[in-house]
């Protein structure tokens, strides 16, 4: 059993403590916006926030997330209003297939919280998610648009 707080709601779930947080979120809590891409913390599709920090949820056990505040893509909007990063993603039409974008948005939201006006170099070092469709040009454009809004 594990006790997880996801998007402000507490869930008691029946999992082995070494289950990756990603799969507990997807299969036990039932929120599938957070994606599996590699399972080894390479691609970033599984990025969630734990106590506000971006974390690749495929590579930490559920036991390490107990008692902490977990935010997934489903919890990013507040009171029905999209997060500014989500809105920028719509305005700049960032997603292509969209599969990696939940992780990308979570990584960018965390970056902008730390650095509201990131330089290109900061974007380069902090946003390391893989996107096979190749949306990077629009990702960068949308980040700067949020920063300059």
């Amino acid at each position: 059993m594990a006790r997880l707080t996801v998007n402000g709601q507490t869930h008691n779930i029946d999992v082995e403590p070494d289950t990756p947080l990603l799969w507990a979120i997807r299969e036990n809590v039932g929120l599938t916006g957070t994606k599996y891409g590699c399972g080894i913390a390479q691609c970033g599709a599984c990025t969630v926030h734990i106590d506000g920090e971006p974390v690749r949820s495929c590579s930490i056990p559920v036991s390490a997330a107990e008692g902490k505040q977990i935010t997934t893509i489903e919890g990013l909007a507040q009171n029905g209003v999209l997060h500014k990063v989500q809105q920028a993603w719509i305005d700049h039409e960032v997603p292509q297939c969209g599969y990696c974008q939940a992780g990308m948005i979570m990584a960018v939201a965390a970056l902008l919280k730390q650095k509201p006006r990131p330089t290109d170099a900061e974007i380069n070092s902090e946003i390391t998610n893989i996107c096979r469709c190749g949306t990077f040009q629009q990702v960068r454009e949308a980040i700067h648009a949020v920063a300059n809004a």
């Binding site: 489903e74 993603w89 297939c97 969209g98």
Partner: protein
């Protein structure tokens, strides 16, 4: 005009009732009389492409698959343009493959590969929209008892000016659906387009930023179980034995089974449980005859093909061998392109539910009908007892069209658990080692010069793997052993025609097919052919001491559209003018998938040439017509990510008969830090030539433009890939 669907209402109603009414979609016949075909919610179909709800919502049927390339929105724009409906009221749905079969393929092909989504279907989907418009106008005219020619429509509102009456599509759709469709309709001149040709917002964005979009990986069905699968890692091998008892007591495990002769699967309550048990399952493989094959043995075999007597000719004029024999000077080079995996972000998956009376599959597929065929084959059930429901793809890139191995597996597993939906997910590791790989290819090029430095002949000898020999053997058989697709981008005519006129030309292929399963990797064979040809054109120009653009121009007189895109990028990048300090430029162009594409790259190098900084890319695209400029720009920019990831980072090597790379740690992909600024020039020239595609063509010019710039920066000509093998990486 022979692509128009035969909308014969009587025959398709008969056709659909004949299959027993087992398909809910679009066929709820009890509503409103037998002549009206209805969508699931009861709204009338004006025709197969257009359903209109009473609230004026327009539902456009999309047969092709959305996998990020924007085809869904583009096809909706084309239908809506002719329909003259209100774009803000447009939504869409996928007809099912089973329905298409039952209705005599009224939606024609579902195949979404070869950059064909829009270019192959634009005419008949526009006709579908135009015919629906005419029927809706006629229905309103009938209601008012006036000639239809006196009625006009704007954004779905029909008006009869003289009597000052108006109505809306939603109000007359029911009556329109009962009318005979017009025999023919005239399509608008693209100059008059208001919706098509414009950068309308994609219809599928909002759910992709909130986590709501359901991909195959995310599907949930009542009572569903999860499966993980492992195929023999040596292609062609089989399962010898496995010890199910070792894992059957592990948490959540429900079943451990063989899948066909070649794989094993674990079914569990959750996928994580299934995967954990599968990893622990002892399996012994009968690796078969290919267990000793390696990248080196393949390379040696290909190398012999570079000078082999026998080869299939793809393009020939004059006497290239004679010109080379009598040349004052020869230039020769050998290139190599590796195996590569598609690696879409969403690994392969399919969900199946089987009973002896019905087999249903939910799958992210580039070709719903290919999925359907796989369901029939694996289930053993007839077409009227099978159905496929398509889901948006988390990337496709050619892996999810012709190949439906995961559908086959899902059905075989579901057959062992009748009535229970089984979701089969591949791990990234399985996705990497069970690919359908970009074929490996070597190429020897020989150019002949006379004493005045005129190019008098060119021989391009390809040696390597054919995709079609494995995937479409009937085509290769018809061609007496030749694979015509190998010559993409250097063919003698057609959508992949060679872009130069060179005296004494020979392009041929020594076919050598290792056991590694080949596939259509975004861009397919133009990827290697454009590197071979366009890098060698630079080599020839440099050997002749000529400017690379001027040298090419001599052979472009009969290729105005190739020349057009090449000159466009050259001009914009500033070719012939001084570049910033330390920055060097390279060019490439090709006709691919019916479109003309070119790229110019600006690069600098660091660390003695071991690091490449790509400052800027200029790309030009002439696909004839552009349906959504913003989305084409995105396909163009994304093509540099796909193409340059391949150039710098990606190779699948073979050892002991299997692929060595198992995840993104050993098969990396470009990140935002490496992304150059891409300036896209869209320059559609219109005209009557078939439209070109845009999802794939630009990938092929990415690598040679950068390689040609790298040579200018360093004097080093790299001829084998990826660049990581030369310790060259992104700066």
């Amino acid at each position: 005009m022979n692509m128009i669907p035969q909308i014969d209402r009587r025959s398709f109603v008969l056709g659909t009732t004949a299959v027993g009414g087992g398909f809910a979609f679009g066929l709820n016949l009890p509503f409103g009389g037998p002549e009206v075909v209805r969508a699931q919610d009861g709204s009338p179909e004006v025709n197969a492409w257009v359903v209109i709800r009473p609230d004026d919502t327009v539902v456009i049927r999309i047969a092709r698959s959305e996998m990020g390339q924007g085809t869904l929105t583009g096809l909706c724009q084309l239908v809506a343009e002719e329909l003259e409906c209100d774009w803000s009221k447009v939504t869409w749905e996928y007809p099912t493959p089973g329905q298409n079969v039952a209705r005599k393929r009224v939606w024609q092909s579902f195949s979404t590969g070869g950059s064909r989504g829009i270019r192959e279907s634009h005419e008949y989907v526009r006709k579908g929209g135009a015919m629906a418009r005419e029927m809706l106008l006629q229905a309103a005219a009938n209601q008012w008892d006036v000639p239809a020619s006196e009625c006009i429509v704007d954004k779905g509102v029909i008006t009869h000016k003289t009597s000052n009456r108006s109505t809306s599509y939603g109000k007359v759709a029911e009556a329109a659906a009962k009318l005979e469709p017009p025999k023919d309709v005239k399509l608008k001149d693209p100059k008059d387009w208001k919706i098509a040709g414009k950068s309308m917002k994609r219809l599928d964005t909002p759910d992709k930023v909130t986590g709501k979009q359901v991909y195959g990986f995310d599907l949930k069905l009542p009572g569903m179980v999860n499966a993980a699968v492992k195929e023999c890692p040596v292609f062609g091998g089989k399962v010898k034995s496995f010890d199910a008892a070792k894992v059957s007591g592990m948490p959540g495990v429900k079943k451990v089974m063989k899948v066909g002769e070649t794989g094993v699967a674990v079914v569990a309550d959750t996928w994580w449980h299934a995967k954990t048990a599968l990893d622990a399952l002892p399996v012994t493989w009968d690796e078969g005859e290919h267990a000793k094959v390696s990248s080196d043995s393949i390379a040696q075999w290909f190398k012999e093909g570079l000078d082999a007597e026998q080869a299939f000719v793809g393009n020939q004029n004059g006497d290239a061998k004679g010109a080379i024999a009598s040349a004052a000077r020869k230039v020769e080079a050998v290139y190599f392109y590796p195996y590569q995996n598609h690696a879409p972000m969403e690994p392969m998956n399919a969900t199946a539910r089987y009973t002896p009376d019905k087999c249903e599959v939910w799958v992210p597929s580039q070709d719903g009908e290919a999925s359907f065929a796989a369901v029939l084959a694996a289930s053993g059930l007839p077409a009227d007892k099978c159905e496929v429901y398509k889901i948006h793809l988390g990337g496709g890139f050619g892996r999810r069209g012709a190949f439906q191995d995961y559908v086959h597996q899902a059905v075989l597993i579901a057959k062992e658990m009748p009535g229970t939906p089984v979701k089969l997910l591949w791990s990234r590791e399985e996705d990497m080692v069970q690919g359908r790989y970009h074929p490996a290819m070597q190429c020897k090029l020989v150019g002949a010069f006379d004493k005045d430095n005129n190019l008098t002949g060119l021989h391009m000898r390809l040696s390597g793997q054919s995709i079609l020999a494995t995937v479409r053997p009937q085509i290769v058989e018809q061609q007496k052993g030749r694979d015509p697709l190998v010559f993409q981008g250097v063919a003698d005519s057609g959508e992949h025609a060679f872009g130069y006129t060179i005296p004494n030309l020979l392009i041929d292929h020594s076919m050598r097919n290792p056991h590694v399963p080949p596939g259509f990797w975004r861009g397919v064979n133009v990827n290697q052919n454009c590197i071979f040809l366009e890098c060698f054109m630079d080599e020839l120009a440099q050997a002749a001491g000529q400017d690379e653009l001027e040298f090419r121009r001599k052979f472009l007189a009969k290729h105005p559209r190739n020349r057009g895109v090449l000159e466009a990028v050259a001009e914009k990048v500033g070719w012939g003018k001084p570049a910033p300090q330390g920055v060097h430029r390279g060019l490439a162009h090709m006709k691919a998938f019916g479109a003309y594409v070119a790229a110019a790259a600006e690069v600098s190098v660091e660390d003695n040439g071991n690091k490449i900084k790509i400052h800027r890319i200029v790309a030009a695209t002439d696909p004839g017509y552009v349906v959504n400029p913003a989305q084409v720009d995105r396909q163009v920019a994304g093509s540099f990510v796909y193409g340059l990831s391949g150039l710098f980072l990606q190779e699948c090597t073979v050892k002991d008969g299997r692929i060595e790379q198992t995840n993104f740690d050993s098969y990396d992909s470009m990140r935002i830090a490496h992304m150059p600024k891409v300036e896209s020039i869209l320059m559609p020239t219109g005209g009557t030539e078939p439209w070109g595609g845009v999802g794939e063509p630009t990938i092929c010019v990415a690598a040679p433009a950068v390689l040609n710039a790298y040579y200018k920066a360093t004097g080093k000509r790299i001829r084998s890939f990826p660049l990581k093998n030369h310790n060259i990486t992104f700066a």
